[in-house]
Symmetry: C2
Amino acid sequence: MESLKQRILEEGKNLGRGILKIDSVINHQVDASLMLEAGAEFARSFAGAKPTRVLTAEVSGIIPAMATAYAMGLPLVYARKHKPITMQEPVFVEFAPSHTKGGAVSLMVSPEFLAPGDRVLIIDDFLATGQTIAAMARIVENAGAEVVGIGTLIEKSFEGGRALLGSLNIPIVSLVIITEMRPDGTIIIKE
Amino acid sequence: MESLKQRILEEGKNLGRGILKIDSVINHQVDASLMLEAGAEFARSFAGAKPTRVLTAEVSGIIPAMATAYAMGLPLVYARKHKPITMQEPVFVEFAPSHTKGGAVSLMVSPEFLAPGDRVLIIDDFLATGQTIAAMARIVENAGAEVVGIGTLIEKSFEGGRALLGSLNIPIVSLVIITEMRPDGTIIIKE
């Protein structure tokens, strides 16, 4: 997606150790139009997979996932990291090591919103180590549903997430793929 | 907003003590089309206020706020509750007592995305005690910007938020106003 690529090159900051600061576009400030454009792009990519539901994890996955759900006319479910008092048990819960926070985060989805037979499209902002997406895929499997696609805005291919998720044999689409983040601050994007 | 009102009457659950479970529509599962419709409604309500920016707080405010930002062609900023490693200091920070979690939550906004002169439209999912929105309003004031409108999907008028925020002298629009949640489970919505 050329528009997202340009924004990363213009506004993205390489903070070192593979950390990309892109919070003028996605993570703190959000360009809503650009995100709707990304959602439409995911809708085109995954129309053939016939998903019945879009799944993401709070917080920053919510925005591209909502845009995708809107473009496809599907319900969105976002996995909760903290259990709100309105969440009824039992829930599906899996744990993922956190890249940016340290420790492990819990991801919870209520069986009310993930049913056997559901065809689930997982959308997230980043594909890095793939651990968060793998945890979401386990939740889908535990619910007796099926993951039919994985879409991310930005993949950092040097962190190995695509290899980790490869065993799932599911199509993975990343709108921008960063192949290298150099110590001098340069960000290299796959053409 | 008639469509949201109907969804609350059909799917909302009164859990007692003023707690509304509406996580099939807003808080866990999300109806993206309905949220875009809500965003368009806020855009109509606040067009005259000429906002330059939409502000909300993670997590569940993000969805209606993104829809509003999209409808108005404005950038969205969401206050973070946890400081990601990509957030540069100094930040504006305020604290709000949490209705559903207990304790106080921190809300942080980077000065990169909130500037003096900004005209800020605050959007959130619920108006209950008004404490979260009041904390966002303090952040806006601390940044030298101005709150020009407050929009919420659902107001629980019996929790006093509108009175708390009244001293700000800012237009408040709630798409649905719940006036009473009875012990027998009945939810009363203002016509």
